[in-house]
């Protein structure tokens, strides 16, 4: 069953097309990876799906409902969680409070009911020891983990991860991949934009390639990575 469906979605800034007739379905329980060169429109696609940016044309349906014109807050409450490519913590709030915001507003829980849930997410994402640290003081890896943890606190049906492994060391990346794999195994549908291909392909079961706002490939990771067009455009390999 399709959890997310984009139908002929377009977005332009002036004459620049950043999303060009994108049609895409994500099934419930799927782990989908999105790759593409810088400027291909990957993050914009997340902005359109979450309602941070309005679509130019086309429709977006989530969990069976047309959400094309619904505000970002409402889409979040319906179960669309996301992380940002450049971490955007609530800097003056503590790590724990960042999660409470997500759980109280995004998941619509009463504040008195969220303590245990938020603490468990902190444990799962390796942030429990930093629970009472102001989020603005965290180093990069922990900021990335906080992005993931805060999105999880909203109880997402679909989790959109935007280059969450970028800038991490190999061991940090391995540890993050394990966490994401566990989240997916727990039943959360995942769409993951990533440049760290070995991390991405170790989790996802389908890969989409974007270039100039268009989908140029969609299929099993091995098949997509073997495609001549993808290797030329994305990996810069002359075939």
């Amino acid at each position: 069953m399709s959890l997310l469906r984009l139908d002929d979605v377009c977005k332009s800034y002036g004459t620049l097309k950043v999303t060009d007739h994108v049609t895409l379905e994500v099934a419930e329980g799927e782990a989908l990876g999105i790759i593409g060169p810088n400027g291909a429109g990957k993050s914009t696609l997340f902005d359109l799906i979450t309602g941070r940016v309005a679509v130019g044309s086309g429709t977006i349906a989530f969990a069976g409902a047309d959400v094309t014109t619904r505000p970002a807050t409402e889409r979040c409450r319906m179960g669309l969680g996301r992380s940002f490519q450049i971490p955007r913590p609530f800097g003056r709030l503590t790590v724990f409070e960042n999660l409470v915001v997500g759980a109280a507003f995004g998941a619509g829980r009463s504040e008195s009911d969220v303590t245990g849930r938020c603490a468990e997410i902190l444990r799962q994402t390796g942030l429990l020891e930093r629970a009472n640290t102001p989020a603005g003081q965290l180093p990069l890896l922990q900021r990335k983990r906080l992005e993931l943890a805060r999105a999880l606190a909203t109880d997402p049906k679909l989790l959109l991860l935007d280059e969450i492994a970028g800038g991490l060391t190999e061991s940090e990346c391995r540890s993050l991949v394990e966490t994401i794999r566990a989240i997916h195994a727990g039943g959360t549908t995942i769409v993951w934009i990533e440049h760290v291909l070995h991390a991405l392909t170790s989790v996802v079961d389908r890969l989409v390639v974007l270039d100039f706002g268009r989908i140029i490939a969609d299929g099993k990771p091995d098949a997509v990575m073997a495609s001549r067009e993808v290797r030329e455009i994305y990996l810069g390999i002359e075939v």
Binding site: P89, F96, E97, A104, T115, A119, R130
Partner: protein, 357 residues
């Protein structure tokens, strides 16, 4: 068998418990002050308390919601004029008419929000100032309340105000002095209620959402916080409190004019100074700031326009060397919070205790 950890949240600190006791004692002492101090001191305390209320509401707007308004004098003046109208035209008691001032300020804030919330940052600040000027010019056309030159409250209204007769009998005061005590007690009640209300708001779910919007409105939207709604709520609440305070100030002075009631210097510039030097985004900051402002005002009263230059210079020095204000400077070094808002996660039955830096 392993014990699963139990989690709980605490906000209280030892300093906050001590400060609560001290605050209660101070409120009792302040309530009893008119029995022991001169009328001049009562008027000084009234000034401190009303400026504190204005500063707390401006701090709520700018420090917690990121809405830097330079037009709060619109609500002071409009609340005051509404109170004057309710007393002079409708014959209400001035104490009751103070409520009319607060309600009128909210009624003004609803349409003005429609315009100013289309603006952001510096444009929002200028927009609020423009609206305040427009309201001043419109009110100055209201001839029934004195037009551009202003008017006074009817002497009978202030003489017969709620509580004045009883105080005259009880303390043996003249009507005017008894009126000052009544307005002082109202100012004390308003200041305590304001601090209690804002503290409760900031500790609530809404307060947490407000802090998230302040730190990153776009990220807050992505986790379900409706930033626009939060900001509207704060704007209306601040308008109500500022309107109440404006009405109360003009019950005490009993004389009003558009230039005084809508003064950007008296009701916004001084208030910004108080919040900035005290510590923006903290409840303690405006309390420290208003005391510093009062002391400076008295110390520099004989130096004419040098007074404003010195205030400006102090504001610049504080912003350069203690950008989080005097209270921020103290709190950063000592970790003391008299009004703690932060939720701390505590783990029982588990050796892994989160840090608290």
């Amino acid at each position: 068998m392993p014990v699963s950890p139990r989690y709980r949240v605490t906000t209280q600190t030892t300093a906050s418990r001590v400060s609560l006791v001290i605050a209660l004692l101070l409120v009792v002492a302040a309530a009893a002050a008119p029995l022991f101090v001169s009328r001049g001191t009562v008027q000084d305390l009234f000034f401190i308390l009303t400026m504190l209320v204005l500063a707390q509401f401006w701090n709520l707007l700018a420090g917690y919601a990121g809405l830097v308004s330079v037009g709060q004098q619109a609500f002071v003046g409009f609340g005051a004029y509404a109170m004057f109208a309710a007393v002079s035209l409708a014959g209400l008691d001035p104490v009751v008419a103070i409520l009319v001032g607060g309600i009128a300020a909210v009624l003004l804030a609803i349409p003005t929000a429609f315009f100013v919330f289309r603006l952001e940052g510096a444009y929002f600040a200028i927009g609020t100032w423009v609206i305040a000027e427009v309201v001043r010019l419109v009110v100055a056309q209201w001839q029934t309340l004195g037009g551009g030159t202003g008017t006074s409250l009817p002497r009978s209204a202030t003489r017969d105000m709620i509580g004045v007769e009883q105080l005259k009998d009880w303390l043996g005061l003249k009507s005017s002095a008894a009126g000052d005590v009544v307005t002082y007690w109202l100012a004390l009640a308003l200041a305590v209620a304001t601090i209690a209300f804002i503290y409760r708001l900031l500790r609530s779910r809404r307060g947490l959402g407000l802090a998230a919007v302040r730190d990153d409105a776009s990220a807050a939207g992505a986790v379900g916080v409706d930033g626009n709604r939060m900001k509207h709520l704060v704007y209306l609440v601040a308008a109500f409190g500022t309107g109440l305070c404006g009405a109360l100030i003009y019950v005490q002075t009993a004389r009003i004019s558009p230039d005084a009631a809508f003064s950007v210097i008296d009701w916004t510039a001084y208030v910004i100074f108080i919040v900035v030097i005290g510590g923006i985004g903290t409840l303690e900051g405006p309390i420290i700031g208003v005391l510093v402002f009062f002391l400076l005002q008295n110390a520099l009263a004989d130096y004419g326009s040098w007074y404003l230059l010195v205030l400006g210079l102090i504001g610049i020095v504080v912003m350069l060397f203690a950008p989080r204000g005097i209270w921020g400077f103290i709190s950063d070094r000592t970790g003391i919070e008299l009004f703690p808002i932060r939720r701390r996660l505590v783990i029982d039955d588990d050796p892994q205790t989160p840090d608290t830096d």
